[in-house]
């Protein structure tokens, strides 16, 4: 926290500085990426960008070096937001046209209330470690107290408690190590359920939630069955459930906005990177090696659409002409039509593509390794293969 305070001080200094543009820039002697304001950069749309989304009519994309860019329509140039951190943002989501959240590396969560023009840090990795420490200290204490009350009448419950206690103690140890080491866990996805309820997930099974619009954040890791501490990579929601998917084929579902989670039968043992609920209410789940699954029954059962190109699939969105578009590594852009046929194109850049949106004019805006890539229409990409549903 000492470091954090010191940087908060430095930040106030920097903020005051912004009021005096003529003055010389402050000297930074002990650089900390979490507190360094994002540089205003002409190449912001060309750096690594991870996600792109809508806030009302506005499009917003996030990525490396604290870059958040936005534009009100796709014939306008990108503008860069004012962001008080320089970490790699991994995800962004909006409650409405104004309120949104972005999460990223070093445990950073940032929020906006003006449609993405300016952002404030709501949580950083140092605070996050303290939250974890307090949370798991309390949990260990609570579970230890419960253990004391056991009289041997229910060995199964005792066993479960023992495991929970063990996990909590391990998590506490990790928090204590992190206190020494500094924040190492990135958040990998954020889902805004309402202007009050926000969920974020990340590395080693991190799950954090706010129910007060980000004023306070609560550790939820122990409500998901993830004894091996696998990464949580993706979140999605429909009217009934919130879905969570991650490393090693894990899929979960919550009916109470993330308070409790049930583990679903996974159709695959490899990692998942993207989740999406389409306009028809189908749940899409995509991941390693061209694995694409679709569930028409909220995750009870899945059917597979296998891509011949065995590359990672990262994201899915609704297609203008029905069905869904999906993007993946090595420049893969696919379209699964309503009949379930997949058309697979490769963008010439060969870049890893992580997210996309469809614009009003039907064109696609894709983000990834090389920043923003504009695609006038799906069929304008070079076609490589076509595969039928298996």
């Amino acid at each position: 926290m000492i470091k954090a305070t010191a940087y908060a001080g430095a930040f106030v200094g920097a903020a005051m500085h912004a009021l005096l543009p003529a003055a010389q820039a402050d000297t930074v002697t002990d650089y900390e990426v979490i507190y360094a304001p994002a540089m205003q950069a002409t190449k912001a749309p060309k750096t690594v960008l991870t996600e792109i989304t809508y806030a009302g009519d506005r499009t917003i994309a996030v990525g490396d070096y604290g870059v958040i860019i936005f534009r009100d329509s796709n014939d306008q140039p990108w503008q860069q937001a004012e962001v008080p951190t320089s970490v790699l943002f991994t995800s962004v989501d909006f409650a409405d046209a104004n309120q949104g959240w972005a999460v990223g590396h070093h445990g950073v969560i940032a929020a906006t209330t003006d449609g993405g023009k300016t952002w404030q840090r709501q949580l950083d990795g140092f605070e996050y470690i303290q939250l974890q420490k307090t949370h798991f200290e309390n949990l260990v204490a609570e579970l230890t107290a419960q253990q004391d009350e056991f009289d041997g009448s229910d060995p199964d419950a005792e066993e479960a408690l023992y495991v929970a206690l063990d996990n909590a103690a391990f998590a506490l140890d990790m928090a204590l190590v992190a206190e020494e080491e500094g924040p190492t866990k990135p958040f990998l996805d954020v889902r805004v359920l309402s202007s009050q309820v926000i969920l974020a997930v990340g590395a080693y099974g991190s799950l954090i939630r706010s129910t007060d619009g980000g004023a306070s954040w609560h550790i939820q890791d122990n409500y998901v069955e993830n004894p091996d501490g696998f990464h949580f990579n993706a979140l999605a929601a429909d009217n009934d459930y919130v879905y969570l998917a991650g490393e090693s084929g894990q899929v979960f579902r919550s009916a109470d906005q993330g308070s409790t989670w049930e583990t679903l039968d996974s159709p695959y043992y490899g990692s998942f990177f993207g989740l999406h609920v389409d306009a028809q209410g189908n749940l899409w789940i995509v991941g390693l090696r061209g694995n694409i699954f679709m569930s028409a029954d909220q995750g009870e059962s899945f059917s597979q659409i296998k891509l011949e190109d065995t590359v990672n699939i990262n994201a899915v969105v609704d297609a203008a002409a029905g069905g869904v578009y999906l993007v993946g590594n090595a420049g893969v852009i696919g379209w699964v039509n309503q009949q379930g046929d997949i058309e697979n194109m490769t963008h010439a850049s060969g870049a890893a593509l992580t997210d996309l949106i469809t614009n009003k004019d039907g064109s696609l805006t894709v983000v990834g390794q090389r920043g923003v890539i504009e695609i006038p229409q799906f069929s304008s990409i070079q076609q490589t293969t076509t595969t039928k549903e298996q």
């Binding site: 000297t27 002990d30 010439a348 992580t354």
Partner: protein, 777 residues
């Protein structure tokens, strides 16, 4: 005048020379034979360290890490282009395979680092449920079938080599050829010229067809082409000799004296080369200009002697007396002029770049040698052979009618013409001042600035820059840390900030370093999930992420990592912006234990050179003008006279700067000395002309008549001298080496313009001062 009276009026120098003619002749012959033997061992060389300002901070930093940086830069790239379809055809792949194999066996190639689609170290990889899988880009069961070609296409896309080894448009493929500076087997240094020739013979000549085009770039190729180009200069020297001989004959109509002047001037060149070899200095593509200058200076002074001798012959002296009298009348003017040349050249020593210093030494030696050969040997030879009767007759006839030089230039001492000339000169100065504001420092053209923009090398270079995601203008910042701290998280995080800061600097295309490797490593090791493209605070994770760092991106004890900044071009503004941007970052971010030092890479070194050149430009002009003004003051002891001589020179300097701006020639290692050379030689004309004007005035003549007298005695020779000097260097304009051509253009302009300036502006200024100042004398 009898022989007796000639002897009595002679000075000791004259007696020493003419009373022991056979002895001197033998001594000159012996010295010439000895020095010719040494001169024959002079070879053009292109030493990299001599072309850079070794005392500059950037270069010192570079030298400190030179060994660690060696594996970075010395690379040749060979692009194999197909003009039909794309590279995924059986035929093309066969050719590419053959070329790759051929390159593998060229001595000097670092075989383990050799990369092309056909080398096993170029691999594709992908993440599976079990981890990484991958293989060589060429499918294992390659049989050149459609299926194999399809697989190859897929593998290429997954290898991340599009833009590196495969062109963005899939119409060409690249062979990346790192070189060993020192042959690990024999310990011998790489012979660039030989290597470059091998590339031509074994690759380009052998594989270039109608459908397959070969493009080769790299430092080794530039050096090879430079040395090859330098040999062509020998041909120019021959051409200059032939033209000069014809001009000498045209001027004197006497083959004997023409050959005598030519031989003495060639002997001066031989001596100069021999002495350079003896003192252990070499000849480089820059100082190659010096033999031309020495030759031309020799000829111009020789002409003065011949001119005087034939005048004396017409006056009725025998060949011996005519020569002695010519020597007597000219040796002071000649010595003064040559000494001022020599001293003018030595002012170049203030520039801390070895090639320029070598050029200064070579030129000073050359001028000193001309004193001996053309003021010593030439009169001795002429006293034996004499002017042919035909030549004497021609001189006699010429004296009876007004010489064109006389009729053309004598009017400039009359008020009307004088003031018009001065007004035109003012216009010229204004033009020069306006355009010289746009004068740029450094090299302005793309590619290898040493060679012409339309040279094969630069066309090849343009091809590769256009089709691949790589720039050939590289600026390297060296990040210095304590040993084993080069990839410590805190250091990498600042370097990452620096990377982003530099990427957003105008003129920067891309920035690559171990930071990029670490972020790519994190991306790769986390199942190819781009959301992990970041540095991790956990040092063990960072170490794992940087495990695949290619050699050269971290030094052996991990105390230095190069940060490679790829630039759009190497224009001076671009380099200045980059340097300023690095300085701004260093001022704002001060991380203990991490220093970001400039600069290596061709652009880093050019930035250093530019800053030295920029500082030296004014310093050199002050020195050369200072020296010339002091010499003139000593000779003439009149500020007004010195003004008359110096102002035309300044006009030429200013106008040549304007010309440089208009022609897009920057101030650089090659062109900076040219201005000093121009001033140093240009002042000769002024000295010769003004001496005679003053002589006329002293005899009570009016300005008009004094000037006519000056034109009659030395004016013709000055006109001829300007022409011979200009022709001697003008052949350079055709050099395949760009900077030699630039030097040729500028020197030709300066020699002609200085000559015109002396013949037009000196009388005009004298008229101006006579009208508005106190009368002269």
């Amino acid at each position: 005048m009898s022989e007796q009276s000639i002897e009595t009026k002679s000075v000791w120098l004259e007696r020493a020379l003419f009373n022991f003619r056979p002895l001197w002749f033998v001594m000159f012959a012996v010295a010439t034979a000895f020095l010719a033997w040494h001169a024959s061992m002079v070879r053009p060389e292109a030493s990299f360290t001599k072309m850079i300002p070794t005392q500059h901070e950037f270069i010192q930093n570079y030298f400190t890490h030179q060994e660690d940086l060696a594996s970075l830069g010395n690379v040749v790239r060979i692009a194999v282009e197909t003009t039909e379809g794309d590279i995924f055809t059986a035929e093309f792949q066969k050719t590419l395979q053959e070329i790759t194999d051929e390159v593998f066996f060229i001595p000097g190639v670092n075989r383990s680092g050799l990369k092309s689609v056909w080398t096993p170290n170029v691999r594709w990889s992908e993440v599976t449920e079990e981890g990484f899988v991958g293989g060589p880009v060429i499918p294992d069961n390659w049989d050149a079938s459609e299926e194999s070609l399809d697989k190859l296409r897929t593998n290429v896309l997954r290898s991340g080599e599009v833009g590196n080894l495969v062109a963005n448009n899939f119409k060409s493929a690249l062979i990346f050829v790192p070189l060993n500076e020192i042959n690990p087997d024999t310990g011998e240094a790489l012979n660039y010229q030989e290597f470059s020739q091998k590339l031509e013979e074994n690759i380009r000549d052998k594989y270039q067809t109608e459908n397959v085009k070969i493009h080769i770039t790299g430092f080794a190729k530039v050096i090879g082409d430079l040395i090859e180009g330098a040999y062509q200069v020998g041909l120019f020297f021959f051409i200059a000799i032939v033209i000069t001989l014809l001009m000498l004959y045209w001027y004197s109509r006497c083959w004997r004296s023409a050959f005598a002047v030519l031989s003495c001037s060639i002997i001066a060149v031989v001596w100069q080369l021999g002495i350079i070899k003896l003192i252990g200095s070499g000849i480089n593509p820059y100082s190659m200009l010096v033999p031309f200058l020495v030759f031309a200076i020799g000829v111009s002074h020789g002409v003065q002697i011949i001119n005087a001798i034939s005048n004396n012959r017409v006056d009725g002296h025998d060949k011996f007396a005519a020569t002695r009298l010519a020597f007597r009348s000219l040796y002071i003017a000649g010595l003064t002029a040559l000494i001022s040349d020599a001293i003018g050249f030595t002012t170049l020593m203030v520039i801390d770049i070895e090639v320029i210093q070598e050029l200064a030494i070579a030129a000073s030696i050359g001028v000193a040698v001309v004193v001996l050969t053309n003021l010593g040997l030439l009169p001795i030879i002429m006293s034996y052979v004499g002017i042919s009767p035909k030549g004497t007759e021609y001189t006699r006839k010429a004296r009876e009618q007004d010489h064109p030089v006389l009729t053309t230039f004598s009017r400039f001492s009359q008020p009307k013409w004088a003031y018009s000339a001065l007004v035109l000169a003012l216009v010229g100065v204004t033009w020069g001042l306006v355009y010289s504001q746009q004068l740029k420092i450094g090299d302005l053209d793309a590619g290898a600035p040493e060679l012409r923009p339309d040279s094969r090398y630069n066309l090849d270079n343009k091809f590769i820059v256009d089709n691949y995601s790589s720039s050939t203008d590289i600026f390297v910042v060296m990040a210095e840390t304590a040993p084993s701290q080069c990839i410590a998280y805190d250091n990498l995080e600042v370097m990452d900030r620096f990377t982003w800061h530099m990427e957003n600097t105008p003129g920067v295309q891309d920035v690559k370093s171990v930071v990029y490797v670490a972020k790519m490593g994190s991306f790769g090791l986390n199942e190819g999930n781009l959301k992990w493209f970041s540095l991790n605070r956990n040092q063990y994770v960072l170490n794992a992420n940087t495990g695949r760092t290619p050699p050269g991106l971290i030094n052996p004890d991990c105390s230095m990592v190069p940060i490679i900044i790829y630039l759009n071009d190497h224009k001076a503004e671009t380099l200045q912006t980059v340097v300023a941007s690095v300085n701004a970052f260093n001022q704002q971010y001060q991380q203990e234990g991490l220093e970001l030092l400039m600069a290596a890479g061709n652009s880093g070194i050019e930035a250093a050179t530019n800053s030295v050149i920029e500082a030296a430009q004014t310093k050199m002009l002050l020195w050369v003008y200072g020296v010339v003004i002091v010499l003139c003051l000593i000779t003439f002891r009149s500020i007004r006279t010195v003004t008359c001589i110096i102002l035309p020179l300044m006009l030429t300097t200013i106008m040549s700067q304007g010309l440089m701006a208009v022609l897009g020639i920057g101030v650089k290692v090659a062109t900076l000395p040219v201005i000093a050379l121009g001033v140093g030689i240009g002042v000769d004309y002024g000295i010769y002309i003004y001496t005679k004007i003053r002589e006329g005035l002293a005899q009570g003549m009016h300005l008009n008549d004094s000037y006519k007298y000056a034109l009659d005695s030395t004016g013709k020779a000055v006109g001829f001298t300007g022409l011979t000097l200009a022709i001697g260097v003008a052949t350079w304009i055709f050099s395949p080496i760009k900077f030699q051509a630039d030097m040729g253009i500028l020197l030709t302009f300066m020699f002609l313009w200085n000559m015109l300036g002396a013949l037009i502006l000196i009388p005009a200024l004298a008229r101006f001062f006579a009208r508005f100042g106190k009368p002269i004398h």
